[in-house]
Amino acid sequence: MKQDAFERKYRPVWEKFEHWVSILSHDHRRLRVDRDLRLAIAPQFPALYRQVCHHLALARTRQYSVALQQRLNALALDGHRHLYQSRASLVGAFGQFLTSSLPSTFRKQWRFMLVSAAVFYLPAIAIAIAIAFKPELVFSLLEPAEVAQMESMYDPANSVLGRERESDTDVYMFGFYIYNNVSIGFQTYAGGLVFGLGSLFYLIFNGLVLGAVAMHLTLIGFSETFWPFVAGHSAFELTAIMIFGGVGLMIGYGGIAPGRKKRWHAIRDQATAGMPLVYGGALMLVVAAFIEAFWSSSTWPPLTVKYGVGLSLWVALALYFMLLGRNGPE
């Protein structure tokens, strides 16, 4: 068949297809065009799409002109995009994510979580012990100015606790914690791409600072202000950093030991497998920022209440990751 005849014969099909794609695609969904029309079209769409694919293949083998091939290619691409897009509804997916895929992914990747926790907490404990014996070691890790700033934050003489509180600045601090903490989390995650080294660095570094600050403030007698402040949000914040580190290590492991896959395929698969944990970690850091800004800084609750809340959040989080989503789908 000559090209002109081919075009004349099938042009109506292509125009119909173009029209259908535009009706079915996103742009129209927002405009709420005729629902019935879309429902009527949807079941017939794949057949029409296959026809267009067939025409594209014909146009190529018969060496019809470039313009025609390009047009059919664009049509088929639109159809492919529409037909094979993922259609998970966000709301339903979120419930499923919270009750099932987050905790079950966590358990499935427990090795990485364990390594991440070890790399995070062991340096913290080690430096804390070291500083307990040689208090001046804190200055080997932090600048004197930083130490002074930490001290001024948790000075029992202050009426509010935390980072530089002057007046009622809870919202400000909420914003600051989100910006600062979630960014650290994301960096810990992304650093994993470099064979896990970036994640290891952030985990160890943050662990060391954590241990050093905690022990230093305890030694100089600020424990009454420091520990009640961090108790509330510690569960969410520390666990989230550990999770981000763990997912970073997952990606790094994909690069180091791709097994029988291509290296980039292994990395991609590891990144995809770890995605629920990234969502979860970000969510936990937002929760932690909320607690830190609005609860941790308050001085009115008695110490027992603050410790109690902190402890119960740790327990709740542990139970959540251990128990939920055991029977649900992956």
């Binding site: 002109s65 914003g175 910006y179």
Partner: protein
């Protein structure tokens, strides 16, 4: 075509879809436009919110956070894989299997951006784009996505309406193909260029001009005959 930047996407229907990959230059320009939009917006928001004291300061931080980490993700998911900068340059992010990029893919490629930026000025990202087969930066490789020139809606060019002139020379399919393509593109070229292109064939055809070649093209495409 050996030196070809076209990506081939295999489909279950058995045809390969072809897409032109976007290289470093258009992607950098798109990034520049996005950066301008992002920072101008942040600047304006900061000025406005600074009127609201500490609460405004907190909101600024939240917005700064969203703008820096989620600007690309939100646009890529809700705007058919294109941030405003990419849209301006006709680019689009998609999964390597040709489907639209989803939350996970977009989030992975944009979080890994943190590594692409290292050690400065997107050095890792640029190297990766230049070295990888499909012009992918590290985030793209980890997420299984790439950036392509969006073919978009491409209307057929004006049909070749020249009077068919029979061509009595045996030509291969590729040669016929070239002549038919010329016929289609002739309406988009100016006269001098058409003549220039037609002159390439002067060793083969005697007294050939662009008009006559269009006629041959029309004849080869089969116009004027019944289907």
């Amino acid at each position: 075509m050996l030196l070809d930047t076209t990506l081939n996407i295999g489909t279950p229907e058995g045809v390969e879809l072809k897409l032109p990959a976007a290289g470093l230059a258009p992607r950098s320009l798109a990034w520049l436009i996005d950066a301008l939009i992002k920072y101008v917006t942040i600047f304006v928001v900061m000025i406005v919110l600074s009127l609201f004291g500490k609460v405004g300061g907190g909101l600024t931080m939240v917005i700064l956070f969203i703008a820096l980490w989620f600007y690309n993700v939100l646009f890529e998911v809700f705007n058919n894989g294109a941030t405003p900068g990419k849209r301006a340059l006709g680019l689009r992010v998609m999964n390597t299997n040709g489907t639209p990029v989803d939350w996970s893919g977009s989030l992975i490629r944009n979080l890994i951006r943190f590594v692409d930026v290292l050690p400065g000025c997107y050095a890792f990202g640029c190297m990766s784009v230049l070295l990888s087969k499909n012009f992918q930066r590290l985030g793209d490789l980890a997420a299984g996505t790439f950036v392509v020139h969006d073919p978009g809606k491409r209307p057929l060019p004006k049909p070749n309406d020249a009077q068919p002139v029979p061509l009595l020379l045996p030509l291969t399919l590729a040669e016929q193909h070239a002549i038919v393509s010329f016929g289609e593109r002739a309406s988009m070229l100016n006269r001098e260029r058409s003549e220039e292109l037609a002159a390439i064939l002067s060793p083969v055809f005697a007294d050939l001009d662009a008009e006559r070649l269009r006629g041959h093209a029309s004849w080869l495409a089969g116009s004027g005959r019944s289907a």
